[in-house]
C-alpha cells in the first residue's frame, strides 16, 4: 500500500471534487483515506467547512465507522474474519495464532510498523472459510501453514 503524505492542499482538492454529490460526507472521508491511508485530525475542520457542517458532526461520522482510521496504518493491513462461518471452520484458533505471532492484538499495529491487524466481520467467503484479506487481496481456506505464509508476507 502506497499512501501519499498528508498535504492540506491535496486534501482540499479531493474535498472540492466531491462536494457536488448528494450526502457526500462518507464519499469524501473514503477518498481522503484512500489517498493518505487515514483521515488526520487536520482534515476534519476542512470537511466540516466545505459541507457547512460542524466539526463535531464530521468527528461523529469519522469515529462511528470502523473503516476510518485516524492514525496511519502499518505498511500492510491484515484483516481476519471473526464471524460465525469462519468460527465454525476453526477461525478462533487462527486468531489466537496470529495475535501470538505478531505480538499485537486486533486493532493494533506491530512495533516495526509492518502490519496492522484488524478484525473483519464477514468477507462473504463463508463457503471457503476461514477467510482473511491482506491489503486488497482475499484469501480463503486458511489453515495454520497458509496463515503463517501470509504473516510472513505481511511482515516483509
Amino acid at each position: 500500500m502506497h499512501n501519499e503524505t498528508w498535504d492540506p492542499t491535496r486534501a482540499a482538492e479531493i474535498i472540492a471534487g466531491l462536494t457536488h454529490k448528494e450526502g457526500p460526507t462518507l464519499v469524501i472521508l473514503h477518498a481522503l483515506q484512500e489517498a493518505f491511508g487515514y483521515v488526520p485530525a487536520a482534515a476534519e475542520p476542512m470537511v466540516a467547512q466545505a459541507l457547512n457542517l460542524s466539526r463535531a458532526e464530521i468527528h461523529g461520522v469519522l469515529t462511528f465507522y470502523p473503516d476510518f482510521r485516524r492514525e496511519p496504518p502499518g505498511r500492510h493491513v491484515l484483516k481476519l474474519c471473526r464471524a460465525e462461518a469462519c468460527q465454525a471452520a476453526g477461525g478462533d484458533a487462527l486468531a489466537a495464532r496470529i495475535e501470538n505471532r505478531l505480538g499485537v492484538g486486533f486493532g493494533a499495529t506491530t512495533a516495526d510498523g509492518a502490519v496492522t491487524l484488524e478484525p473483519i466481520y464477514c468477507l462473504g467467503l463463508c463457503a471457503t472459510a476461514p477467510a482473511a484479506m491482506l491489503d486488497d487481496r482475499v484469501i480463503g481456506r486458511l489453515d495454520a501453514s497458509r496463515l503463517d505464509a501470509l504473516m510472513a508476507e505481511a511482515q516483509r
Binding site: K21, E22, G23, P24, T25, L26, V27, L29, H30, L51, E57, G60, V61, F64, Y65, P66, D67, F68, C81, A83, E84, A85, C86, Q87, A88, A89, I120, Y121, C122, L123, G124, L125, C126, A127, T128, A129, A131, M133, D136, R137, V138, I139, G140, R141
Partner: protein
C-alpha cells in the same frame, strides 16, 4: 484453433487461487502456441470445486476442479486431446449439485462475462426492462404483486406493496436504494450476483425506477466487498455507454441513473433506515418508523429500498414470468430462495431452490455434512441474528412461516454449519458481543443490553449462580426483543435463546428432550 476457457473472477474463487490458475493457463497456452479465449465469469457457486475451470465444447461446457497451478499443464493436455483427467467433472450442467437447483436468479451467474453487456443480452438480459418500458407503472407493479415476490433481504415484506406505496406517494424526486450491505455471516448471494451478473441488479433497479417514477438510484455496497464494488461500477458505466442508464433509457421517455456508494464497516447500515442515514453522510443510526421510507426515505423523499436478490428477481418476473415465478415455492413463500451453505460444511456454496426444501436435506444431502467429517451439531440459519437449530429440527422446511413457528428465521438464506466441537454457550456469548460491537447506540436495550448480556453469559459459563443468571439473561432478552428500535437489538436474543433452549447442557443445565415437530 482457439479454445474458450472460463475461470471465475468471483472473490470466492480468487480467495483460493483463481487468478494464479488463470495466469498459469495463459502462460502454458502461450508456450504451446495454443490460442486461448479466456473469460472471467462469476462463480457457479460450487465453492469446494473452486477454482473451477470450464472449457467450451460442442456438447457444452466441461468442468475441471478444484484446480491448482500444478494441474494446469495436464488439464490443457486433456482439453486438447479430449482425454481424461482426474479433476474432470464432465459437463458442468450435469453435475448433480447444480442439476438439482432451480436457478431463476442465478440463471446466468458463472456463465456470462460480467463485464460484457452484449453477453448479458445474448443470455436473455434486458428483456424484462424492454417489456417494462411498454407497460404503465400500474401494470409493472401488478406483475410484481402477482409474482408474490417478498423481500429477499430477510424481512420478507411484499415487494409489490412497497413499490405501490412509493408510486402513489405523489410527484417530485423519488429514489431507488439497493441494499447491498450483506453483513450477515454465512451469506454471500448478493456478492456473487454483483460480481457475476451485475447487469441484472441494474436492470431490476431500473425497472423499479420506471415503476415508481424515480430517476435516481443508489446501490449501497459494503466496503468488505471491493470486488463487487468494482464489478458494479464497471457494469454501470457500460450500461450508461449503451443507453441502458441515463437520460431516455433505450430512447424512451424514462430516465434513470445509478450511483455506487460504499459503506464503512458498520453492520448496522444493513438496516434500511441506518443505510439511509449513511447515504446522507451521517452516522448510521437507526430511524424510528413511522414514517416509512416509502413515504419519507432518502433525503426525506419517497424511497424504494430492496435488497440485491429482490431487485434481481424482477427482470425474470417482468419477462412474462409473474405466474411462473409464483408457481414455485410453498405457502406464502413464493419463488426460489438462493440458499448459502457455509462454515464447516463439505460442499459449501450457493444453492438456489424453490421454497420448501428441508434443513436436513440441505445439510446432509446437499452440503454432504461437515468438512471436518465430525457429526453436525448445530446450524445457524439467517445470519448472526438467526437461530441455532439442532438436528431434531432438521425437518423444518425453508419457508418464512415455518421457521418463524420454531422461533427461527430464514433471513437472507445463510446457513452456517457447526460440528460437535462447538460450544454453544460461547456462541451465545458471541451473539451478544457482536450486538454490543455493532449496535448503533441509539436505543438503550440494544446498546446496554448487549453488553450486560455478554457479561451475564460469562457468569453462567463460570458457574456463578447459573439458574439466577439464566433468569436474568431471559429477562434481558425479552427487554431487547420488545424494547429495541430495530432488528439488531430485537433479534439478537434469537441466537442466544435458541442456544439456551436447544443446547442447555452447554450452559451447565440438564438436557431437555426436544420433540421433532410433526
Amino acid at each position: 484453433m482457439s479454445i474458450r476457457i472460463f475461470i471465475p473472477r468471483d472473490s470466492g474463487a480468487l480467495a483460493v487461487g483463481a487468478d494464479e490458475v488463470a495466469a498459469e493457463l495463459s502462460r502454458v497456452a502461450h508456450e504451446r502456441d495454443v490460442s486461448l479465449d479466456l473469460v472471467r465469469p462469476g462463480s457457479r457457486g460450487l465453492y469446494w470445486l473452486e477454482p473451477m475451470l470450464e472449457v467450451e465444447t460442442q456438447a457444452g461446457r466441461v468442468a475441471f476442479g478444484p484446480t491448482t497451478i500444478a494441474d494446469v499443464p495436464s488439464i490443457l493436455e486433456a482439453i486438447l486431446s479430449d482425454g481424461d483427467h482426474p479433476l474432470k467433472l464432465g459437463l458442468t450442467e450435469q453435475i448433480p449439485w447444480l442439476k438439482r437447483q432451480t436457478r431463476l436468479t442465478f440463471v446466468r451467474c458463472g456463465i456470462v462475462d460480467p463485464r460484457s453487456i452484449d453477453d448479458y443480452r445474448a443470455h436473455g438480459g434486458y428483456k424484462g426492462l424492454e417489456r417494462a418500458l411498454k407497460l404503465s407503472s400500474n401494470a409493472i407493479i401488478d406483475d410484481v404483486v402477482k409474482s408474490g415476490l417478498r423481500g429477499r433481504g430477510g424481512a420478507g415484506f411484499p415487494t409489490g406493496t412497497k413499490w405501490r406505496t412509493v408510486a402513489q406517494a405523489g410527484r417530485g424526486q423519488k429514489y431507488i436504494c439497493c441494499n447491498a450491505d450483506e453483513g450477515d455471516s454465512g451469506t454471500f448471494a448478493d456478492r456473487m450476483l454483483m460480481e457475476g451478473d451485475p447487469f441484472m441488479v441494474i436492470e431490476g433497479m431500473t425497472i423499479a425506477g420506471i415503476a415508481v417514477g424515480a430517476t435516481k438510484g443508489y446501490i449501497y455496497i459494503r466496503s468488505e466487498y471491493p470486488h463487487a464494488v468494482e464489478a458494479m461500477n464497471a457494469a454501470i458505466e457500460a450500461a450508461r455507454r449503451t443507453g441502458y442508464l441515463g437520460d431516455h433509457i433505450c430512447h424512451s421517455t424514462d430516465s434513470f441513473d445509478i450511483e455506487v456508494r460504499v459503506g464503512a464497516g458498520a453492520y448496522i447500515c444493513g438496516e434500511e433506515t441506518s443505510m439511509l442515514e449513511s447515504l446522507e453522510g451521517k452516522r448510521g443510526t437507526v430511524r424510528a418508523k413511522p414514517p416509512l421510507p416509502a413515504h419519507k426515505g432518502l433525503f426525506g423523499r419517497p424511497t424504494v429500498i430492496n435488497n440485491v436478490l429482490t431487485f434481481s428477481a424482477v427482470p425474470y418476473i417482468l419477462d412474462g414470468g409473474a405466474q411462473a415465478y409464483a408457481d414455485c415455492g410453498m405457502g406464502r413463500s413464493r419463488g426460489t430462495k438462493p440458499i448459502q451453505l457455509g462454515g464447516n460444511v463439505k460442499h459449501g456454496g450457493l444453492f438456489e431452490v424453490a421454497f420448501g426444501i428441508t434443513l436436513g436435506e440441505l445439510i446432509d444431502d446437499i452440503g454432504g455434512g461437515t468438512l471436518s467429517g465430525r457429526p453436525v451439531r448445530a446450524v445457524q440459519v439467517g445470519g448472526p441474528l438467526g437461530a441455532y437449530f439442532p438436528r431434531a429440527l432438521f425437518d423444518t422446511p425453508f419457508d418464512y412461516e415455518a421457521f418463524a413457528a420454531r422461533s427461527g428465521m430464514v433471513g437472507h438464506g445463510g446457513v452456517v454449519v457447526f460440528d460437535d466441537t462447538v460450544d454453544m454457550a460461547k456462541q451465545a456469548r458471541f451473539a451478544m458481543e457482536f450486538c454490543a460491537i455493532e449496535s448503533c447506540g441509539k436505543c438503550t436495550p440494544c446498546r446496554i443490553g448487549s453488553t450486560r448480556g455478554a457479561e451475564t453469559v460469562d457468569r453462567i459459563i463460570a458457574g456463578d449462580k447459573p439458574a439466577a443468571n439464566i433468569a436474568v439473561l431471559e429477562d434481558l432478552c425479552n427487554t431487547m426483543k420488545f424494547g429495541s428500535l430495530c432488528a439488531l437489538g430485537g433479534l439478537a436474543p434469537i441466537p442466544v435463546l435458541s442456544a439456551l433452549t436447544h443446547f442447555p447442557e452447554d450452559f451447565g443445565l440438564a438436557p431437555r428432550r426436544l420433540q421433532a415437530a410433526e
